[in-house]
Symmetry: D2
Subunit: 370 residues, 4 copies
């Protein structure tokens, strides 16, 4: 497959966590209505072209930047590093990789100081910073909580054509794989990787890339996620619910996927598990296990596999896509050419016929869908 | 359409509530594993051919009877009446209707005394009783609660071809309509009716009938329903989840539909609203409103519309079906001939094209499904 | 003890449910801030002296009326009856009892039509009405729900010196006892009574009376009640929390008691059980059972026993109190003269010494409190 | 104050997290009934004298060891370090501190390999290990979850007379303070410190020490904690509930304190916040702020301040206590000599009189307690 990304001679920056995403939206008012009016993210500050938003438990300036622009896209996946020196380390690391690198002492966005932005070897606009304005952590401000309050930025999810190549690159950058989806032949369909002690700070999902699959915010409890759905129904915006709510197999978290007014995908997520031990056991899921992406076996809608957001290079131009050449998870699991099983022993019988979900009982779950 | 059911000259029996359902299962051990081992219903008593089950807050002998038999079916929808005399009233009422009526002073099943069973004018095996053995109400026995504990029998749901005819008959029997689904032409697709002060004791769903659509048990909270899904996943029984979990539009309740080992449909249900005032406002939903059956706009799987359980006559023989001649809810809402809208204003534009969900945003919810 | 209240020759009115309470508050703005700003009750309408509030699932005009006045008090416990004729029945019933009775065709408050108000034989201002303005049932308006949304008026609670006398009177009025607290000598300390199918529409609590002990609103789930506490903490109003949150023994409900700016006690309540069967088993609790009022054995604060609101007669004057002569629940359960047990077998050993909670393990729960 | 603990010249071991506690219980069967039968911790293995328990999401051998012994006590606070070499680092570090140090290549308990145990400068039996037997992470085993399932060991809490001295020592050992309780004069009453990215791995609570204040396990959601209370009520063990449930001010977590059959204190805890950034803001609470330990202002029972478990030295003998000479948090906050305020502005008025909670409204919360 494609060439491996080399390992720089200099150490990788010490990344603490995914910190914020900057997205370009085509109608700022509409997007603000969605993120503030519907999802109740807190506005740290805003002006005519930009809104800076944070979750209830955050103490840094923002977790999400909405910027008015001509084409819906993602302009930064931003990570916080452990110290000011680690921004230097990031700059050196990506320069050695031969990437396009930009450094701004005063930051690319408000509230953030000295930062480096790169177009990484996979094509994604990554940012690294330490210096940041502290703002009030609203954790105790229960007078401001809504029924579906978002309390933390949890993770990013990226679409890339060659998952093993991406994982190799991310491991060199200091990430650890916690879970992945593979098949018996060793094809890797997706991989979850962490810096902080949760299941992930970002995941690599196989597909034409680079694209942004989703950005995820955490709630305290599952009922908070259900409350978001209920509110969307009340606002007659239920068609912004793309998938879920449900329980993931991978990560064991409770989830919901929404699509914002530009189609950017937002996950609402709660209750994965602690992964901070160095020997935290990796969980590998069989791509044909029908409970891997939804523990309850509810179908993944095709758009969830096919749609993702454009990412921008450092000049603000859309990055062109490279096609995935490995098998597609959607193709191998649903439809005429795929199969999925609820019980492994059922799979072995069904494999020859590639019928999977076609037997009586679970027709209502899969067979009738496509 | 079909002839109206006459109103007897004698008063209708004073029904308190739906009390239990008796179902025939083809493999008692398997069914017991499902209802007791998975759903944690409490066994009041059992023998080689029958298991008597109740929910945590029940004080009468049972809410569900599983009886071993050759063909999966329903042998009784059983209601409790207000006094022993009301059993006489029930007998007189259905005799005047010309129905087949059986009376047993010692009851048709254990734990229940003087009862009358009828094959009602719609073809359903209805039972009425007052006398019942009291057993321990386990409401305070939190040492016995499981994460998904079922606390009450909530309602039945019946499939019948002519909903207005069925509603008319049920209103005469003393039921009150709380909600229904109609279209602009006045076709009634389903109707919810109560005796106790909840949204329903039973509902009439349009389709070939008489058949049993589902029997529903209540939990205390929404997370209890999610816990049942999680457990089914852990047991690799996620393919028993037919639909949900989700929020109903009709009833405003949180729901989940399961299929037992014989395919009998069980709903798990929580948090509808008080309906006990005589002028409780009826809610009529437009059949094309995509949030009527799932407030979050998640699709109803076709099997949910098409599948239902056979009911038995008083001799234990399957009752033959009468076809629905009115429009089918499934046909008018999904697929090439149907349409659904999330916002009423969107509907008016789309009607001509019968495309409904076919516009951009919500394709992932509906357009790709069928 | 005191004389029994006679049974009128005319039938009692057919009461459906407790419907609203009218309370007099001394600072309307402060009270509005509490009920609307903190508890998020919905304003149906308001003017300079009066605020009409309802819960999320209500369809009648209001469940609570705040009226500006000189002295904090309760001016009406209002019940809805089944039909206009039942208002006549109420008038006749209380006239025969020799009570002061007032009838207003246009109602005593906005939104309510033909009503009768009486000062009942126990001294309480009771109202009965059928005619009421319907307003939007906000049950589906999840855009308006707060984390602690109140969804129904659940019940009243009244303080009266002679509980058996009060129960006898209420049973004649058509109420049914669901639970009570007694001791081995047959002293009745409190009794819960229902019309609708919950544990109560009102309760009679032994003490100097007539006074209003509390009015209770229901939430959907337990976390809603916790959210109210969290919000009160955030607003630095935690000292309005008088007792709880906790689980009741009686009623099995989850509860919280607040005190409004005038000291009126509000209960927030969720998840009692269905009581609608005529032979619903009555639960009698031993007054010395330390789990009767809090299933977790957490202490009842003395103010909860001693404080209650003044009630007004039909001229708006405070009703003078009659002292309780039976034992006081507080006295017999806590402090030097009382005892409580967690396990009945412990009680029998401890009774002689009246030490109850004085043995090692549970000192932290009771022994140190008083 | 007492002498500062010196800083060794060798680096502190790289601690990942609190991993398990070993406690001595006087009746193993009774303790097993409590931790397994009531709290549903999972048994990894057991023999006649020892039971090894873990939480649902744990993958190392155990989080709690119950060992039969003559006197209730704690024999180890055990931390996991990042690598085998860090066990060497721990040994060197504490040897330089002049502590009693023991090293066992095969571990002090089953399932754990090479370990070092020390009696640390504060007198506590601390253990450090890396090598551990992996066992099944039961996170996805929802068939095993109970309504109150414990999913993680969260933290320890230690009683020590001189909190600033202890904090200084812990900071040198690599811990970071996240929150503390102080007064205007700078007296420190308690301090919370973390290695993993939660509010704490351990806390130092001022009092006669060394003693173990509590060990805490996490649940997923708040209702899980309520379910434990409900179950204790059903088992007539409500007198094992010492304090709570409630919301902490410090940590913002929802909590419950239980006492096991030997009086060892167990906290059940959920929903604190992410603290993993190096500049995570420290929160300092005023000792007179009545919401610091319970956000809802519910009183802390005196036993919670006064009781704690004996700790053992490396020979298994109880470590003798050093008295706290700084002010006691209980004394300065409750009773005749203390004061607490709900609103800071109220405090300034009340300080002179030392009456604090003595004014009208909140008497029911504090004034009547002591």
């Amino acid at each position: 497959m494609s060439q491996t990304i080399p390992v720089p001679s200099v150490p990788a920056p010490d990344i603490i966590r995914c910190a914020y995403m900057e997205i370009v939206v085509t109608d700022l008012k509409k997007s603000r209505d969605f993120y503030v009016g519907v999802l109740d993210l807190q506005v740290t500050e805003e002006d005519e072209t930009t809104v800076y938003l944070r979750s209830m438990e955050e103490f840094i300036h923002h977790n999400l930047v909405l910027r008015q622009g001509p084409v819906a896209a993602v302009s930064a996946f931003s990570y916080r590093v452990r110290s000011p020196e680690e921004v230097d380390a990031a700059e050196a690391y990506f320069r050695e990789l031969g990437c396009r690198v930009e450094r701004k002492k005063n930051g690319f966005v408000r509230g953030i100081g000295d930062s480096v932005r790169v177009q990484d070897p996979l094509g994604f606009p990554y940012e690294f910073f330490y210096d940041v304005e502290h703002v009030e952590r609203l954790a105790w401000r229960y007078d401001l909580y809504s029924p579906g309050a978002l309390v933390r930025l949890d993770h990013f999810n990226q679409v890339t054509p060659d998952v093993p190549k991406a994982v190799d690159y991310m491991e060199n950058l200091g990430f650890k794989v916690t879970e992945d989806i593979q098949d018996a032949e060793g094809t890797v369909y997706a991989s979850w990787m962490r810096r902080k002690s949760t299941v992930h700070d970002t995941a690599m999902t196989g597909g034409d890339g680079p694209r942004m699959h989703h950005v995820a915010f955490a709630t305290h409890e599952k009922h908070n996620i259900l409350a978001i759905c209920d509110k969307l129904g009340a606002l007659r915006l239920s068609d912004t619910i793309e998938r879920g709510p449900g329980r993931h197999g991978v990560s064991n978290a409770f989830y919901l996927y929404l699509r914002d007014p530009d189609g950017h995908r937002i996950e609402i997520y709660t209750q994965d598990y602690y992964t901070g031990d160095p020997d935290n056991p990796r969980v590998t899921w069989d791509v044909h296990d029908n409970q891997r992406r939804d523990w309850w076996g509810n179908p993944v809608v095709p758009s969830w596999y096919t749609d993702a957001s454009t990412v921008l290079d450092l000049d603000g131009n859309p990055v062109s896509l490279t096609q995935r050449t490995d098998d597609s998870e959607m193709d191998v699991t649903i439809g005429a050419d795929g199969f999925s099983y609820t019980r492994r022993e059922d799979a072995t019988t069904d494999v020859d016929e590639h019928s999977g979900a076609g037997d009586g009982e679970d027709e209502f779950k899969l067979g009738h869908q496509l």
